[in-house]
């Protein structure tokens, strides 16, 4: 297996630079850069808006040695923009088969603590990888994404120690052109805290966080609004 020379950080989050998806993916890409790989970064939401952007996306994918495909969970799957990009990439790579098959690494994060929420999204990306003739490079799944707050992992200290250790281990294998070892996948995908604690914290502090945001927007009194209900009352 040839050693890859380039890595593409392909970000499926519409929050782009401010996203947790970026921070997790960037930590991995930075480790790969330390091993001599050259990196590029692309934001799907900005590319799939028109055919020019789609062509650029295809060029970036087809010329990458490794693709770090980082995305949030949206409604039990991937954001619509991200699925659109996957359709475009698959359609073109099937129509015009490429000699090279970049290694695809999936990085999925969500706000829920349980990893089960992301299992289907992971299967969908694996299926995409196969259909688009990409080489499966492994996956990292991260729950409680909100705890990252869009900040660099290096600034999160102890909370992300398993994640950063796992990503660093992943980089060693990927730099050699090998998929992420399962030990590194498991380590990086470990919960930040014991699951029962994460669930308790999310229920308790989650409410306060939402309410504070609503207060700042003067929307707190309307949090339970049912704007579309009135027309439906007689239908049941």
């Amino acid at each position: 297996m040839n050693q890859p020379e380039t890595v593409l950080l392909l970000n499926g989050s519409p929050k782009c630079e401010k996203s947790n998806s970026r921070q997790i993916g960037k930590f991995l890409v930075d480790r790969l850069e330390e091993k001599g790989l050259k990196s590029k970064e692309a934001f799907i939401v900005r590319l799939v808006k028109n055919s020019q952007g789609s062509e650029k996306l295809l060029r970036l994918v087809n010329t990458a040695g490794i693709i770090v495909f980082t995305t949030p969970l949206y409604v039990d799957s991937l954001p619509s923009f991200t699925i659109k990009a996957m359709e475009v990439i698959r359609d073109r790579r099937v129509a015009e088969p490429q000699v090279e098959s970049p290694l695809l690494v999936a990085v999925i994060n969500c706000g829920f603590p349980e990893k089960e929420h992301m299992e289907i999204a992971l299967k969908i990306i694996k299926n995409f990888s196969e259909e688009a003739n990409l080489r499966w490079g492994g996956a990292i799944i991260v729950g409680m994404g909100m705890a990252l707050n869009g900040e660099p992992l290096s600034e999160k200290k102890g909370m992300t120690r398993n994640l950063t250790k796992g990503l660093s281990l992943a980089a060693v294998a990927l730099a050699e052109g090998q998929p992420i070892p399962s030990e590194a996948e498991k380590l990086a995908s470990k919960s930040f805290l014991p699951l029962f604690l994460e669930k308790t914290m999310l229920r308790a502090f989650g409410k306060r966080t939402w309410n504070n945001q609503a207060k700042a927007n003067r929307a707190k009194p309307d949090m339970y609004a049912r704007p579309y209900e009135s027309l439906n009352e007689t239908q049941y």
């Binding site: 949206y74 991937l78 698959r90 089960e116 289907i120 929307a219 949090m223 339970y224 049912r226």
Partner: protein
Amino acid sequence: MKAVIFNGAREDDSVISAIESSLIKLLGENGWAIEAIHLREKQIGGCLGCFGCWVKTPGVCVIDDYGREVAKKIVQSNLMIWLTPVTFGGYSSELKKALDRSIPILLPYFESYKGQIHHKMRYDKYPKLLVIGTEPRNNEYEETFLALTERNVLNLRPPKHATGVFQKNENLDKTLPFVEDLLRKVEVVP
């Protein structure tokens, strides 16, 4: 009784069209008012993940386009139907752009439901859900597709739901009994 069909075909698709026609025929015969929405013809921006629909304008998306109608039509229907080509085991980008914009119908707050954390429900009642995929690859993705809809059910909690995958190489005459069977499962036809 109102049914809304969200048609997520990416292009002209004879199989999805045949399924939609069968749905309209059977529901119409049983007294349902039906609205079929061809999503690829609608201006629906992708969800930006800003949570404005929860903390700025609760219950209403901050993007003023047809995506707002999607949430409204879901709440104001008795049956919603998702039609899509099975795409990597999930939904097409066209269907997904509508589903992503439906999160205003939930609350931001969390609760434990069936052992996992989910968002609380904003409304007391939600429509029944029927999900239909078309699959060219001989059931390869059916398991993933069915599992995805079960995850959606945990979040949307419809009073009844059913999912079916129609093989694209089947004769189109079979769409009618296929659809009838699914409509019986959600108890909207006898």
